[in-house]
């Protein structure tokens, strides 16, 4: 099943690359739908069966594994990835009508999109540290090509920075992996097993602490670069703002989460090896730093997509902080926030992309009166903006609240309060720009006819509805699943059976 999950996007990607635009769209739609369905099916299995689903390819150890944690990520990739791929169709049609993108490159775009998705699946499914590293490096390469897709100056600049910075970071991550491998080999002996998450977790408490500390630092810097933690986030706003909107949505909604996923795994490992406090401390520091540092950029920002990118930095900070705080509430909040942010931010990027397309500009001052010209899209945009700002009835409010309460418990009132304050001020920034764009008179150039309701909006409303559900009424089954994941994390990566 998991192999199918990997195979589907690769196949459809290959097909897309070598076909005309028309068919490419068709293949893309089919492929992404199939992938999404498979993903949803897969990510339910570990909860249904209660055990992690392992695939013994090699006799000795496993390449792919799907336990509770990765299931969450698979779910996110499934939903967001599919949404973005499907939305890409409408987006590209617009671009072609504007003549931004040549007819023949459409296939290439969809192909790369699917490869991107595939690499991310691999990254979260890999049971092997090395494979995971390779996959994440792969995402960098593919997505860099996507970022540079428009091929104009700024796109190239963004792509280059993205590529260079992330490669350097990833290199450090490799160093961390090597150290981990060394530490593990001391315990597990034989080479291959000692890079498997499953095996590592079993022996985590015997790993050499000082080695693991060093390893974790390299890992944090490495994958932190990819996740966009504060001093390492510099590539993020450029790439997000220059990429085509579906790609920005994927980058911010999913790719960051993959990196966070890697950090979480190593955090669990390190916590068990070194003991409480060390890695958690680092994560808390970095989380807070990212939140606080992203704030000023949000308050004074001209470019709508950069605005969203910085808010992604802030939210990554929130998630990392939640993981660092740990405990039932911390982990619950972090996991929920992972999901909520992925859903909300992708919708936000997609709708913002449409706005930018219609107004032929990413500059906020140029985007007036969206409420009157594009009522549906702008309504969705505003809704997701409020959601990302952390306002009920959307899920992020609850997840942030949960993390905050853990903060109040563990780190005292100050951390929790700073956390809440930053979120509130960020919200002020968002609502300021949102109001500027929504509650203003439309530009004179815009055509008189208002936009109607179309199928692409349904596509956007789907994640939004999920978000609403997360905030107001979470079905009991889902609460069970979340609890299971949290238990898994609390047990430090042991299968929770």
């Amino acid at each position: 099943m998991l192999y199918l999950l990997l195979a589907l996007p690769i196949i459809s990607g290959l097909l897309c690359c070598f076909t005309k635009a028309r068919n490419a769209e068709l293949i893309n739609i089919l492929g992404s739908l199939l992938t999404g369905i498979t993903a949803i099916y897969c990510c339910l299995t570990p909860f249904m069966t209660g055990t992690a689903q392992k695939l013994n390819s090699h006799k000795i150890y496993k390449i792919l594994i799907l336990d509770e944690l990765s299931a969450i990520l698979v779910f996110i990739i499934g939903v967001v990835g599919t949404t973005c791929c499907l939305y890409g169709v409408t987006y590209l049609r617009q671009e072609r009508s504007h003549g931004e993108i040549a007819e023949k490159r459409v296939g290439l775009f969809f192909g790369l999109l699917h490869f991107f998705v595939a690499t991310m699946y691999l990254a979260v499914l890999a049971d092997n540290l090395g494979v995971m590293w390779v996959a994440i490096e792969g995402t960098t390469i593919v997505s860099a090509l996507l970022v540079a897709f428009y091929g104009n100056k700024s796109a190239l600049e963004a792509a280059w920075k993205y590529l260079i910075i992330c490669t350097v970071g990833i290199a450090f991550a490799m160093l961390g992996i090597i150290l981990t491998f060394y530490a593990a080999r001391g315990v597990l002996g034989s080479d291959e097993i000692s890079l498997s998450w499953q095996q590592l977790y079993l022996v985590a408490d015997q790993l050499d602490p000082s080695l693991m500390k060093l390893a974790f630092i390299f890992i944090l810097v490495g994958y932190g670069t990819k996740a966009g933690l504060f001093p390492l986030h510099t590539w993020l706003p450029d790439a997000h703002s220059q990429a085509p909107s579906p790609v920005s949505a994927l980058l911010s909604g999913v790719l960051l989460n993959c990196a966070i996923y890697a950090i979480i795994r190593f955090h669990l490992l390190t916590t068990m090896a070194v003991g409480e406090g060390f890695s958690g401390q680092l994560l808390i520091i970095f989380g807070l730093m990212s939140m606080v540092a992203a704030l000023p950029f949000i308050l004074v920002q001209k470019d709508i997509k950069r605005l969203l990118a910085y808010s992604s930095v802030e939210h990554v900070g929130i998630i990392i902080l939640g993981v660092g705080l740990g405990g039932t509430l911390g982990y619950t909040g972090a996991i929920l926030h992972l999901i909520n942010h992925a859903l909300g931010k992708s919708v936000l990027f997609l709708s913002a992309g449409t706005l930018a397309q219609r107004y032929k500009s990413k500059l906020i001052p140029k985007i007036h009166g969206i409420g009157q010209w594009l009522p549906v899209t702008s309504a969705i945009f505003m809704a997701s903006l409020l959601a990302i700002g952390g306002l009920p009835p959307f899920g992020l409010f609850f997840s942030e609240l949960t993390i905050a309460s853990q903060g109040f418990q563990v780190k005292g009132a100050l951390v929790g309060f700073v956390f809440l304050m930053v979120i509130a001020v960020v919200f002020a920034g968002l609502i300021y720009f949102g109001g500027k764009m929504y509650f203003s008179d439309p530009v004179t150039t815009c055509p008189s006819k208002r936009e109607g309701f179309s199928v692409s909006h349904v596509l956007l409303l789907l994640p939004l509805g999920l978000l609403l559900l997360q905030g107001i009424y979470m079905p009991h089954a889902i609460q069970q699943l979340i609890n299971q994941v949290v238990k898994f994390m609390l047990l430090g990566g042991m299968p929770s059976v």
Binding site: I164, V221, F297, A413, G435
Partner: protein, 661 residues
């Protein structure tokens, strides 16, 4: 069994609100049906809620219904005890009438999308209902924020004007920041294991240290104070209330800001329990400051709705004076006077809900008839729309606490508490503080009277100042009809205050342990009767004696024909006060005389005078500009140079490597 019936009723009420929210979308927008389906369900549900609230108010033990665990560790449960009952009935009473009123009133907003309006409005009311009835911190916060959001959307309903957008922005940002403090207060009390129910919090709060308790108190005070609009935090209020449609501002000013008071009482008195005396002192001081400053700014206003908004600040101040006094007694462990003071505060809260919504609705009627809220353009309306005038007058009399009306009844109780605090001689400090507070209250009272003499006199009496007011007609019957009950309540509660006070003592008895108060000396209604009787007798006498001849002539205008230009204007009415309180208001006047060819004849005078909001000038604006400039500076770290970026990564690594050991 009883509870289950109640539960079903609750479900029905919620369902009706939701129907009111979604139905209008089904009809052609702005058709007659969409107006009806938007407003009528709201009022029906309001009646049901009123019944529920009264049931809760008088039932000995709380009843409710649970919706199950909606979120991890959060059980959404509606539980109506006496306090909730009181607030629920207040909310539903006002919203019931406002919904009736809106049906006609909203027709002046035809060009807007009414369906959205009724969606926001009904959800807004529903969230208020939830806010005062849930018994769980998270649920409270969720609906609290929902309330903020929907009211923001209602405030920005006329988003085409720049001021409205600004007002909405300030409003939602202020209240959202306030919410952060509230969350902080709750989280300090909650233990880490997701204990969110009120009773859990109450249990935790017993184990808190004194400083922690004080922190909770301060955070709650700031947070709820922002919503209630106590003085340093009230900047949003005079912006948002005028920006919203009048019926919405009636709800916001009448009941929404009261939910903040509910939160304060629930969190500080019910959950947190007694604390040191300075809590009460602080609340009392804030109350005094809000009352005085609020009314002084109200007196300066020419815009009726801004005036009413500022007077809301003032009334919240009076309510806080009651609560603060009761906190003082509470911390001095004198439950009975504490109970009476708290009841007095709640009583004034209810009265304010009544007459302030009445006044806002009447202002809305003026706007409906004349399309202006500026007093300088009004005048002479008492002849054009006599019934509205009478209703407004009743509201004005009640809010300026004239005997016979409810405003006086509650302020009287607060006076009594203040006298008690100074006569019990707990300490010389409190004795003098009580008297000073009473003085502040008296000052407020006179200023309010002046303020509403101005409001009513300028906009309703004398000659119409513009064509707008000259062309005014009486508003439709349904609007007048929905204002009448409020006016009736003003008079009724003024004559029979014991009823209200005694039922409120029931509420307080639930909050303050050991405060079984049999009855409280409301000011005797013999007085009211006597006054009424005397007035009637005198009227009768003057009729019996037979009126001598009455000659109707124009007013003597020093020989010139009087016209509207010679009337006393609103600005000139408040001029002495402007001069009296110039230290606070900082009026800036600009006078230019332009003389035509001859210096003595026919020269024009250009005169303008502004008052400054000291808070805005010296607190908020600098804060804002500081934030912006700091952010601008900070942006330079994203310089666009890739070498720097790599340097960040490298340095981070080195620092961590050094840090690790």
């Amino acid at each position: 069994m009883f509870a289950s019936i109640q539960g079903n009723i609750i479900f029905i009420m919620i369902a009706i609100y939701l129907i009111g929210a979604v139905m209008p979308f089904l009809f052609k927008v702005n058709s007659k049906m969409s107006f009806i389906t938007g407003c009528i369900p709201g009022s029906i549900a309001g009646v049901i809620g009123l019944v529920l609230g009264l049931a809760g108010l008088f039932s000995t033990d709380p009843f409710g219904v649970s919706f199950g665990h909606v979120l991890p560790g959060v059980e959404l449960m509606i539980q109506i005890d006496r306090l909730s009952g009181f607030f629920l009935s207040t909310i539903c009473l006002v919203t019931f009438l406002v919904s009736l009123y809106s049906w006609e009133y909203m027709k002046i907003y035809r060009q807007e999308n009414i369906a959205w309006w009724s969606f926001y409005y009904n959800i807004f009311v529903l969230s208020m209902v939830f806010v005062v009835t849930v018994n769980n911190a998270i649920a409270f916060l969720i609906f609290w924020e929902l309330m903020t959001l929907t009211s923001y959307l209602l405030v920005t309903f006329e988003y085409r004007s720049q001021n409205v957008r600004k007002a909405g922005f300030v409003y939602i940002v202020m209240t959202h920041l306030g919410t952060v403090f509230i969350i902080g207060a709750f989280l300090i009390m909650s233990n880490g294991f997701g204990g969110w129910g009120y009773e859990v919090l109450a249990r935790n709060s017993i184990s808190l240290t004194a400083t922690e308790k004080s922190w909770v108190f301060l955070l709650a005070l700031i947070g709820f104070g922002t919503k209630a609009g106590i003085v340093p935090l009230n900047v949003w209020l005079p912006l948002a209330h005028p920006a919203a449609p009048s019926n919405v501002s009636a709800v916001m000013s009448g009941v929404m800001i009261k939910t903040a008071i509910y939160g304060m009482i629930r969190l500080i008195i019910d959950i947190l329990g007694p604390g040191p005396t300075w809590w009460g002192g602080l609340v009392l001081t804030l109350g005094i400051i809000s009352a005085v400053i609020g009314v002084i700014y109200a007196l300066m206003e020419q815009d009726l709705k801004r005036l009413l908004a500022f007077s809301s600040v003032e009334n919240i101040g009076i309510i806080l004076m009651g609560i603060g006094t009761s906190l003082v007694f509470y911390s001095l462990s004198m439950p009975v006077p504490a109970a009476i003071a708290l009841a007095a505060g709640l009583f004034h809260l209810f009265n304010h809900a009544i007459f302030k919504s009445l006044l806002f609705l009447a202002t809305g009627a003026i706007y409906y008839a004349t399309h202006t809220r500026n007093m300088e353009e009004l005048g002479g309306l008492i002849k054009k729309m006599p019934q509205t005038a009478l209703l407004f007058l009743i509201g004005a009399i009640s809010i300026s606490a004239m005997p016979l009306f409810n405003g006086f009844a509650s302020e009287y109780q607060i006076y009594q508490s203040l006298v008690t605090i100074s006569s019990l001689r707990v300490s010389g400090f409190w004795s003098i503080a009580g008297i000073l507070a009473a003085v502040a209250l008296a000052l407020t009272g006179t200023l309010v009277a002046a303020c509403f003499v101005k409001a009513f006199g300028i906009s309703f009496l004398a000659l119409p100042r513009t064509q707008k007011s000259a062309a005014a007609r009486e508003v439709p019957l349904s609007m007048r009809f929905s204002m009448a009950p409020l006016a009736a309540l003003c008079l009724g509660l003024g004559i029979f205050p014991q009823v209200a006070m005694n039922s409120l003592l029931g509420v307080v008895g639930q909050l303050v342990p050991g405060s079984r108060v049999s009855g409280v000396t409301t000011y005797n209604f013999n007085l009211a009767l006597l006054l009424l009787a005397t007035i009637l007798v005198l009227l009768a006498l003057s009729r019996l004696l037979g009126t001598p001849r009455v000659r109707k002539t124009a007013t003597w205008g020093c020989g010139i024909e009087t016209d509207a230009a010679m009337e006393y204007s609103a600005a000139s009415f408040s001029q002495p006060f402007r001069r009296l309180y110039r230290g606070l208001l900082q009026p800036q006047r600009k006078v230019e005389t332009k003389s035509s060819l001859l210096p003595y004849f026919g020269y024009q005078i250009y005169f303008e005078e502004h008052v400054k909001s000291v808070l805005k000038e010296f607190l908020y604006r600098p804060l804002r500009s500081l934030t912006i400039s700091m952010s601008k500076k900070w942006r330079c770290i994203q310089s666009g140079n890739i070498n720097f970026y790599l340097g960040y990564v490298f340095i981070t690594l080195i620092v961590l490597l050094v840090w690790v050991r």
